[in-house]
């Protein structure tokens, strides 16, 4: 198959543009789906079907007064909201969107993704600390504890994928799933990865970072105007990014199921269009899953989150890794 010759800068620009806009679309989708699930109508006044609601939201956020706590640390308070946005944008660099359509192919791409994810912790922690408020600090510390804990099962689930591929390059991971998606070969790893991805993006049932009943607004209690908007944007970008990662690592990336067996040869352009459509469709499904779960399942208590992470998911993911490694070794030997 001829690799589509796409300028990586074009891909980068398109991907960043899509990612930034997808956050706005996600907010709209979230509100509409939530109201559908709760038997309400939801936003339907601004534009046809309420489609311009995100624009109205952004204008509202921009026009609000920007309040900084007097006792807080002004510089860190300002920098903190940018960090999760930047780490979300960093991720796009290694994700392949189609056959040969990627920004760059890093030799240690999977580790790069984990590194970008691990830096996201700073945003919430610093926001909580710099606000100088007890609710913010507790929210920030909870976020840090949760994200650090769930990085381990996330990493082990990724490791169990990597031993199938034999390479840490994300492009190789995508190519290796042409015939069999890894969700069929490694179902336990997929489940662990999806749970950990939910926890990493701080979404229900793991959103005790901002549990209203206990913590007012969690780490962004003291944030207003566009600084709050940045956290809001980052949350939805992380939902999109995590959906992309679930798609890339377990659900065949841009391949249709068992595509290698039945998909006929196609021209480069047709293949590129098909690839991007398939990838976007799968990502949209997982975004829907994120929203669906949020409005269906209640949130855990904090000790339940921690014991699920450390004493259930982590041993299970290590066991999964060892068993898969042993089976692969037996087959290849």
């Amino acid at each position: 198959m001829a690799e589509a010759e796409v300028n990586s800068y074009v891909v980068l620009g398109a991907a960043l543009f899509m990612l930034l806009n997808s956050a706005a679309i996600c907010v709209y989708a979230e509100r509409r789906i939530a109201s559908f699930i709760q038997n309400r109508i939801g936003p339907n006044r601004v534009g046809p079907l309420g489609l311009f609601q995100p624009l109205a939201d952004v204008v509202k956020l921009l026009l609000k007064e920007d309040v900084t706590p007097v006792q807080g640390f002004r510089t860190i308070h300002t920098i903190a909201p940018m960090i999760p946005v930047v780490t979300a944008l960093l991720t796009v660099a290694v994700i392949p969107f189609g056959d040969g359509i990627y920004v760059t192919d890093i030799n240690a791409g999977v580790l790069y993704l984990l590194a970008a994810a691990s830096l996201g912790v700073y945003g919430v922690t610093l926001a909580g600390w710099a606000s100088n408020s007890k609710y913010s600090l507790l929210g920030g510390l909870r976020a840090a504890a949760q994200m650090v804990s769930y990085e381990l099962p996330l990493g082990m689930a990724l490791a169990s994928v990597v031993i199938f591929v034999g390479s840490l390059s994300v492009v190789d991971v995508a190519v290796a799933q042409e015939n069999w998606w890894f969700v069929f070969l490694n179902p336990l790893g997929a489940v662990i990865f999806i749970i950990a991805a939910f926890a990493e993006s701080n979404r229900t049932p793991f959103d005790l970072v901002e549990a209203e009943q206990e913590l007012v607004g969690g780490f962004h209690t003291e944030y207003s105007s566009m600084k709050f908007g940045m956290f809001f944007l980052a949350e939805y970008m992380h939902v999109v990014i995590n959906s992309m990662l679930i798609t890339t690592f377990f659900f065949g990336s841009y391949h249709l199921p068992f595509a290698g067996y039945w998909l006929p040869e196609m021209s480069t352009t047709a293949k590129a269009i098909l690839d991007i459509t398939v990838f976007t469709g799968k990502t949209a499904f997982f975004i829907f899953l994120f929203i669906w779960v949020r409005w269906t399942i209640p949130r855990f208590k904090f000790n339940q989150v921690m014991s699920l992470g450390w004493s259930r998911l982590l041993p299970l993911s290590i066991l999964n890794f060892i068993v898969i490694a042993a089976i692969l070794f037996a087959i290849n030997a």
Partner: protein
């Protein structure tokens, strides 16, 4: 291009290291250390050592420094008293020694003309995951396993200290 990036990253690394030591606020110090680690990771990238650069960020900036910040924030360390509030003769000696060392460094750096080595394909290969893994599991297997045992012992020790005589009452669940 690479030279400019090197100068930028090197200046950033030195400046953030200095800022880390000189800053009186502990949280700011920790954040400058994160910046320092990242600029050093950038230097590794310039040498085509992708694996090392990413591991540097993943392990140091992403994991260890988060725990540092955690501890600093929970302990809520107040502004430290300045080390230099009183003048002592020993500070003068330390300052003079520092000047001497700094002068030596500047003198030895004066002769450097080409900052970055030409990176051949062979050298770039050394930085890949495959090359690092191969060396780690063949030539340096023994030290690697020793380090693993050491780390495991440290984890068990930390658990022992943390769980020493803890009453497991009915607080659970």
């Amino acid at each position: 291009m690479a030279t400019y990036a090197f100068v930028l990253l090197a200046v950033l690394a030195v400046a953030s290291a200095l800022a880390m030591v000189l800053n009186k606020n502990t949280v700011n110090s920790a954040l400058f250390l994160v910046l320092n680690l990242m600029s050093v990771a950038g230097l590794y990238l310039l040498l085509h050592a992708q694996f090392l650069a990413i591991i540097q960020i993943l392990v140091y900036a992403g994991a260890i420094m988060v725990l540092f910040l955690f501890v600093i924030m929970l302990l809520n360390v107040d502004e430290e008293e300045s080390l230099f509030d009183k003048f002592r003769a020993i500070y003068l000696v330390a300052f003079l020694l520092g000047v001497v060392v700094f002068g030596q460094i500047v003198y030895s750096l004066g002769g450097v003309t080409d900052l970055l080595p030409e990176i051949s394909a062979d050298m770039a290969y050394v930085g890949t995951v495959e090359a690092v893994g191969e060396v780690l599991y063949t030539t340096y297997l023994m030290p690697f396993e020793m380090t693993a045992i050491l780390l495991t012992a440290a984890v068990v020790g930390a658990l022992m200290i943390a769980q020493y005589k803890v009453k497991t009452s009915d607080q659970e669940e």
